[in-house]
């Protein structure tokens, strides 16, 4: 009953075209970057002659060659397209070699070198806090009187929570093609979640107006947030190179360059102080929350804001103070990644609740239960939004009972009593995720629907397809509104020349916003056709009269195409735009107060894990998920988002380790060293179900957003591992298990790897204090 992905048959037959697959003009050139190997330094000069002289090389570009603004930062203009004067991270693009062949460009790039005088580099969060090195001013959210209530609380704990970053590892790397047009124009094919931003930044880089630049994207081979702000970097470089040469220029980053040069999920560190009663109910909480933003602001402001707004997750915290530091480090500028700070905020509170439970010696689920938001009381978030649609108590109890949490808790305890080597752990964690861009103005969308005389139609909307099934859902909506078979509706590449000023396809909002905008366009055309019938035949027709590719006019049923042709002849416009803006939301981003979210999406997961006390290896044994997508637009696609999001979260929290060396160079920059989950890691026993209650808010067909929330279900996986660790003698109490829970981290949390040095810890990047002294070096080989 769920329609397959609109491109499924193209995917499986290799016929779906990605940007790298597009046939290009014969004289297309190819660009390849030279990157800095130094984390921080003064760029004293570039030795580019050897590269210029290399075979097939046409051009070498640096910052000086950008005709307009040397920036691809969308919010704050602090992201140079090419390093200029100062180098801010190891992996930063310094120059672009342009050649007839891609391989020639890559090889020539290695012939160049840079003279960089190193400057002191700040590489991790602790060092940045100590130096008060921030990309944006810190923010503070306070409710009630946390200091006094902490002092008064019956019990009190403090501790730290650390978690690593994550590479997006979209299977299709960053790629853009710039094609010069007449009269100063530029068209780009870009693998991007945000064509409009690419358009505006390319225009600025070229020093032309926005109307001179157009950007298209048919599909991405995965995005996950990594193609929200990052694609502009290579799109700008390609456009500048294309302008200079007058020829098309394509840049496709190879995997290593992609991982070295582009931003990732923020790693976070939190220090907490919590007061609670004997049941584990939180009285007051104070948290220092710090994110590693890298060298520039990028999206770190809204990412950190969302982390603050999800530190409560599903729990009422009566008195709370959160200080949010946005740390500037000499590492790649971290960016959007599915969840956008939400997962990191939730990780903090879930860790705190787990700590409270272990301190009290009770089941963590009991502590989670007593802290859940209430219904009609205890229901105001720290940022002042009332939780109006709290279905979580019902959802959580349904999951706990259907998956027999209590019985399995006993079975796990019995196992751990009996088994010396392999320990088991169990955890249930909930998710409450706010839906809408916190920046209110982004919550708008447009669509363009054109009906042709044969009754088929072409649909464009502002959203982009990255695999999430957005086009499948939006196409369904239009076909349903006009009562035509899906095959009559075709979605073409997202294109800034068809729908302008679009928001990024991000914040899980794709179908909420674009589905509504497309519905609006479809209804406009349907009403236009109805008005035509009314005038011509004197018959009122309604939505239900458009069905099955036919239109019921009084007693007559005629083919939809016949009505369309008649309307055409009567000179009725058969194209319409649609528009939507999310109602009810408002947000004071300085005070962090308001109603940033139209509604919340909920879910919960139970994970059972096993860990090996000899090696620290872990395995997820069983998974039960109950997740809320409102009234699903497409159950199979929604379940796909839930399972895929969960697994991506599992990767973040267990096996994916970004290892930066003491010079600030990322050493895990390819799948040989950076390990995302494989098929074997999917739990052999898994039940994933939809909660199925319609959204009380008037969203598209009462559905809910689904892109990001399920990622956070994976927190249950980390806590299941932590639960198993806590069953070992060395891990008893509050095990110090940081994410990712790679085998070494697990073994260490069991107290079995005691003599490890901190700087070589699995979280060397966030936990260590690696700030190398500046040494005088003048020449560096380029990567």
């Amino acid at each position: 009953m769920s329609r397959p992905h609109e491109s499924a048959e193209l995917h499986v037959s290799g016929a779906a075209l990605y940007t790298d697959d597009l046939a290009l003009p014969a004289h297309t050139l190819h660009g390849a970057y030279g990157l800095s190997e130094v984390a921080h330094g003064r760029l004293c000069g570039l030795e580019l002659e050897a590269a210029r002289q290399a075979r097939d090389v046409v051009d070498v570009l640096t910052a000086a060659d950008v005709p307009g603004v040397n920036n691809y930062g969308g919010i704050v203009a602090d992201d140079p397209i090419f390093a200029d004067g100062e180098v801010h991270y190891a992996g930063q693009p310094l120059f672009l070699v342009v050649a007839h062949e891609r391989e020639a460009a890559r090889r020539a790039a290695r012939l160049a070198s840079a003279r960089i005088e190193p400057l002191p580099a700040i590489l991790d969060i602790r060092a940045a806090i100590a130096a008060e090195s921030f990309v944006l001013p810190s923010k503070r959210l306070v409710r009630g009187d946390p200091d006094a209530e902490l002092a008064r609380a019956p019990q009190r704990l403090s501790g730290s929570v650390g978690m690593g970053g994550q590479d997006h590892f979209y299977l299709e790397g960053q790629v853009a093609v710039a094609l010069p047009q007449e009269d100063g124009g530029m068209h780009l094919w870009s693998s991007t979640q945000h064509p409009s931003e690419v358009q505006h930044l390319v225009a600025a880089a070229l020093g032309v107006a926005s109307h001179a630049v157009s950007v298209s994207c048919r599909r991405m081979g995965g995005g996950f947030g990594g193609k929200e702000s990052q694609p502009a970097m290579i799109a700008c470089a390609a456009a500048v190179a294309a302008r200079r040469s007058g020829r098309p220029v394509k840049i496709r980053l190879d995997r290593d360059i992609d991982m070295l040069a582009t931003g990732k999920r923020h790693d976070f560190l939190a220090d907490y102080d919590v007061g609670f009663d004997g049941d584990g109910r939180i009285r007051a909480l104070s948290v220092m929350l710090a994110s590693r933003c890298g060298y520039s602001a990028d999206l770190s402001g809204p990412v950190s804001d969302r982390a603050v707004c999800h530190l409560d997750n599903a729990y009422f915290i009566p008195h709370v103070a959160i200080v949010s530091h946005r740390c500037r480090t000499n590492t790649v500028s971290n960016t959007a990644f599915r969840g956008f700070g939400g997962p990191q905020g939730m990780m903090v509170i879930e860790h705190i609740l787990d700590d409270i439970a272990r301190h009290l010696g009770c089941d963590p689920l009991a502590v989670r239960r007593v802290n859940l938001y209430g219904i009609g009381e205890r229901n105001v978030t720290p940022y002042g939004q009332i939780v109006e649609d709290n279905i979580l108590p019902d959802l959580l109890e349904q999951l706990a009972s259907e998956a027999d949490y209590a019985g399995r808790r006993r079975a796990v305890a019995e196992w751990n009593e009996r088994e010396p080597v392999i320990k088991r752990g169990l955890a249930l964690t909930p998710v409450k995720f706010g839906i809408s861009f916190t920046k209110t103005s982004y919550n708008q969308a447009g669509a363009l629907l054109q009906i042709y005389r044969d009754g088929t139609m072409l649909l464009n909307h502002g959203g982009t397809e990255m695999g999430q099934g957005l086009h499948t859902k939006v196409l369904d909506i239009v076909a349903r509104e006009l009562g035509v078979p899906n095959a009559w509706v075709r979605i073409t590449a997202t294109d800034t020349s068809k729908v302008p000023n679009t928001s990024a396809t991000a914040a899980s909002s794709g179908s909420d916003l674009n589905g509504k905008a497309a519905q609006d366009a479809a209804r406009t055309l349907r009403e236009r056709l109805a008005a035509f019938v009314r005038e011509r035949d004197g018959v009122e027709i309604g939505p239900e009269d458009f069905d099955g590719g036919r239109v019921q006019i009084g007693a007559n049923s005629i083919p939809f195409a016949e009505l369309v042709e008649a309307a055409y002849r009567a000179r009725i416009s058969l194209s319409a735009t649609g528009f939507y803006r999310t109602p009810k939301i408002h947000w004071d981003m300085d005070r962090l107060m308001g109603r940033p979210f139209y509604y919340f999406a909920y879910g919960a997961a139970i994970v059972e894990a096993a860990v090996d006390t000899l090696t620290g290896e872990s395995r997820l044994l069983a998974l039960d998920i109950l997740h809320d997508v409102g009234h699903s637009l497409n159950p199979a696609i929604d379940i796909g988002q839930i399972e895929g999001g969960f697994m991506q979260g599992v990767g973040w929290l267990t096996s994916e380790q970004l290892y930066f060396d003491s010079d600030g160079a990322l050493r895990t920059h390819a799948p040989s060293t950076y390990k995302i989950p494989t098929a074997r890691d999917w739990p052999e026993r898994a039940e994933v179900r939809l909660f199925g209650r319609p959204n009380p808010e008037e969203t598209i067909y009462r559905s809910k957003a689904v892109g990001e929330p399920p990622l956070m279900l994976a927190i249950a996986a980390l806590h299941a591992i932590r639960d198993a660790v806590a069953a070992t003698p060395g891990g008893a109490g509050r095990p110090r298990l940081m994410a990712p829970a790679v085998p070494e981290a697990v073994l260490r949390a069991m107290g079995a790897v005691c003599e490890l040095s901190e700087e070589r810890s699995p979280l060397g990047d966030t936990m260590g204090t690696t700030s190398p002294d500046a040494t005088e070096q003048t020449a560096f080989r380029l990567i």
């Binding site: 491109s7 088994e419 392999i422 044994l621 050493r667 070494e744």
Partner: protein, 489 residues
């Protein structure tokens, strides 16, 4: 059609493709995408780790032997190495507009989201289908171990693998339909009568021919499966010296199993070599399973892994435990060397510049031996190990009379652990003996910190692997689960 010396020929969609004038290091993937315009096959990593580039290679094995189709990573495989074979890509599977069952199942099970990894999964599932149209879950998971998907979480892809056998069978790419006389004849026609000799690559067709090329060109680089050397081109962008490809030498493909032991030719693919080793020594099944993905094991060779001499190659700890020997040839002379003496220093072996590896021999075992192999990484499938271990002990009347403990990841070369071995020899088979041996590892190794693990973790977990081995030996009757994979969900 006459066979030309400098022309690569292979079969694609029923047509013979002839390629000449390209560098020998042109990868199959680049040829497909840039030269043939077949963009269905994708580049995800250019190092054989993501599987988006997976295609099938059909091999005519002569005589009545069935045609064999196996997956490989086209991103790191050089085009001349598919000379004489059939290349099958995702586009090839569509039969008169009808999708292959692997493709149909992926559509029906919602197994594609962004779709970029999908062609690779299709090929891995189609390769499995050609062996076993109705596989079980373990076979499916194993077949797609080398394919990364970032969207789905894999569940619908596994389900597609389980469902494909129940669909209308494939017209062409079905185990009972693919091996036609016409296809055999087409492939038989590609069998060479003269050696392939490109300006930058030669593919000798006999051991003697290989020996003389090796002597004539000591600066040339031997190329076996290319699963490591390929990266020198795609990643390091190195200009390789002239290549001597070993894959066409029949003598190097010999795999002999006899009571006297195993003799594995240097060009035997890892998949076949491991199957033979595990068959003879089941204790090494875990390392064999985790060694690498099927596409890598189909291209890569045991000889390549051994000769490459990486300190983290996972064959060597096992081969050290098995007291393997290497057979080296230079010109007409052959010598044998213990594998333990083969590795001199980091990535340096006892092999002379004009010498080459002919075979690895594993002696048969007398008496009561116990074997185990373990690998530790951040992920079960397809990771480079932090520590890899191969253990063999001989027991007589509950006393350990011989011990060979091979380790990878613990030093600059794969190496035995003499102090730990000494601690075991003469000791009784009980936990305490392995405790002592584990502690002795500290005098055998000074491992390093790197991105895979810290020195401490390496040393402690290596000792714990010995403890695990001890536990596996001592509590046979009431054996407790000793691995997370022995737990039933």
């Amino acid at each position: 059609m006459g066979s030309r010396d400098d022309c690569i020929r292979f079969l694609l969609d029923g047509e013979v493709v002839e390629v000449s004038g390209l560098p020998a290091t042109t990868t199959v993937l680049d040829w497909l995408r840039d030269h043939a315009g077949r963009t269905g096959t994708k580049e995800g990593c250019a190092e054989g780790d993501c599987g988006a580039c997976t295609v099938l290679l059909g091999e005519y094995q002569g005589g009545n032997a069935p045609l064999r189709y196996r997956t490989f990573n086209s991103c790191i495989r050089f085009l001349p190495t598919i000379d004489g074979c059939e290349l099958v890509t995702v586009e090839s599977l569509v039969d008169d507009g009808v999708l292959h069952p692997a493709q149909r199942a992926l559509v029906a099970e919602h197994g594609s989201q962004c779709g970029f990894c999908t062609p690779g999964f299709v090929m891995s599932l189609a390769g499995l289908y050609l062996e076993q149209p109705a596989p079980d879950r373990e076979q499916v998971v194993r077949a797609i171990a080398g394919n990364l998907c970032r969207c789905t979480g894999y569940r619908p892809i596994i389900d597609a693998g389980l469902a494909m056998g129940g669909l209308e069978p494939a017209k062409t790419w079905h185990p009972e339909r693919v091996d036609t006389p016409a296809r055999r004849a087409a492939l038989a026609k590609l069998v060479r009568r003269r050696t392939l000799e490109l300006p930058d690559l030669v593919a000798p067709r006999s051991l003697d021919e290989l020996a003389s090329w090796r002597q004539a060109e000591p600066d040339a680089q031997l190329l076996a499966g290319g699963t490591d050397l390929g990266l020198e081109v795609t990643k390091a962008l190195r200009n390789l010296p002239k290549l001597i490809y070993t894959g066409q030498v029949p003598e190097l493909h010999v795999l002999e199993t006899a009571a006297a032991g195993l003799r594995i030719g240097a060009a035997v693919p890892l998949a076949d070599a491991w199957a033979a080793i595990v068959d003879a020594f089941p204790g090494f099944e875990e390392v064999a399973d985790r060694f690498a993905s099927p596409p890598v094991c189909h291209s890569g060779t045991l000889g390549g892994n051994v000769a490459n001499g990486s300190p983290i190659g996972d064959c060597m700890p096992v081969l050290l435990a098995l007291d393997a020997r290497v057979e080296l040839r230079r010109g007409a002379s052959v010598r044998e060397l213990s594998l333990a003496d083969f590795y001199l220093d980091y990535r340096r072996t006892a092999m002379a510049a004009d010498e080459f590896l002919v075979a690895i021999t594993i002696p048969g075992a007398q008496g009561c031996w116990h074997y185990a192999g373990y690998k530790l990484g951040k992920r079960w499938d397809q990771d480079i190990s932090a520590v890899c271990a191969g253990f063999a002990i001989q027991v007589d009347a509950k006393v350990i009379v011989a011990a060979r403990l091979g380790f990878g990841g613990m030093a600059g070369i794969p190496a035995r652990a003499p102090a730990a071995e000494a601690a075991l020899i003469g000791a009784t088979v009980e936990g305490a003996s392995f405790e002592v041996a584990a502690d002795a590892l500290a005098s055998d190794f000074e491992p390093i910190d790197d991105l895979r693990a810290s020195a401490s973790y390496r040393l402690i977990s290596a000792g714990n692997l010995l403890r695990r081995f001890g536990l596996a030996l001592t509590s046979e009757e009431q054996r407790k689960p000793l691995s997370v994979w022995e737990v039933t969900p």
